[in-house]
Amino acid sequence: MNAVLAVIRRDLLLAMRRKSEVLTALFFFVIVTSLFPLGIGPEPALLKKIAPGVLWVAALLATMLGLQRMFAADHADGTLEQMVLSPTPLGLLVGGKIAAHWMLSGLPLVLLAPVLGLQFDLDVGALGVLMLALLLGTPLLSLIGAIGAALTLGLRGGGVLLSLLVLPLYVPALIFGAGAVEAHIAGLGAGGHLSLLAALLALAAFFAPWATTAALRIALE
């Protein structure tokens, strides 16, 4: 357990040291969402309608950006080998890395989303649902993403290949996440969507570290 905390602490420390890293996933999120009004035009009704979808797609892309680096640096400098050789089970350490990734790329989005939602003229209730959906959805993204990151590890064309592998798997999170907000706006109640999201999260929390560990071992052979 100590080792897991050490992994989380280390990843956070590294991110702080690279300074830019903490804030930039966030800025990417902000910039991508801000690009849409520029590309689509300023009509408020239209913007409000597409807001949940745009916010979720942006969140998805923002979490995906950091994925590639999740194991790559550790792989390149040999730390990953040391992790495999550590007495702590690899699955736990991987869990730590996933948690750190979420804290760096998921959590900030959850906290910032309401501000961006305001730009799209969402009301308070919808903002709450948006935050809750992101809170359930972003760990799911990190968990699924970790599998992709491990599978593409050491493959030089990895970054884009990773998105090819991971984005299709993100579809349910996107649909239920954006769906929750839309259902709330339409007055249908977001409960169903949110509980499905939670169920998916539980499923992924169970399987993803296992699959990631298996993929990492293969990458290191």
Binding site: R10, T79, V84, L85, P87
Partner: protein, 201 residues
């Protein structure tokens, strides 16, 4: 005690070696030699379990290391070609985090002592990125002092080190052996450590 039975290694379609048998007991060390590409690194990676052998078995005190798992890795320290140091972190942080990964915390005091022993005084807080090739290597080697492991497996530990550091490291390995440790090393140079057997690949 580490013993190897009928070990073979295949990389790609190339058979690097086959039917290798040897054992290393307390206080013994093995010098793995061979030309470039002979399979020294591959052998070490097999020994620590980063690769699976094509044939044969590796046993620790008589038990297969595959089944032992963590109980084997706990006694093991492997330093490879790779730096395994984070360029953004300082030498001190690197050392402490490496220990934490093994599940034990390392006090500032002993970490600093280890770094000083390796001649990194005054560079403890500098990001490793700024260190010279040899200094980076020394950060890595400082783990020899901080991790209590019975079996050291070192891939070309003398690379990039200057004459003084080579002597220092040899002395360190000597102490480890005198304490009943074991070591398996590769190197293209002659090794200034008494005793030890050679394995020619």
């Amino acid at each position: 005690m580490l013993s190897i039975h009928g070990l073979s290694c295949v990389r790609g379609e190339r058979r690097l070696f086959a039917g290798l048998d040897f054992a290393v007991g307390p206080g013994e060390w093995l010098h793995v030699r061979g030309e470039n590409g002979a399979g020294k690194t591959s052998l070490l990676r097999l020994l620590v379990g980063l690769m699976a052998p094509a044939e044969g078995e590796i046993r620790w005190n008589g038990e297969n290391v595959r089944t032992l798992g963590e109980d084997y890795r706990r006694h093991l320290l492997f330093l490879g070609h790779h730096g395994a140091v984070k360029e953004e972190l300082s030498a001190l942080e690197n050392l402490q985090l490496a220990s934490q990964l093994d599940g034990d915390a390392l006090a500032d005091r002993s970490a600093l002592a280890a770094l000083h022993r390796f001649g990194l005084k005054g560079r403890e807080e500098l990001p490793v990125r700024f260190l010279s090739a040899g200094q980076k290597r020394r950060v890595l080697l400082a783990r020899l002092v901080t991790k209590q492991a019975k079996l050291w497996i070192l891939d070309e530990p003398f690379t990039a080190l200057d004459v003084k550091a080579v002597d220092m490291l040899s002395a360190l390995i000597g102490e480890h052996l005198a304490d009943g440790g074991m070591a398996i090393l590769t190197s293209h140079q002659a090794m200034p450590i008494p005793g030890g057997r050679e394995l020619q690949l």
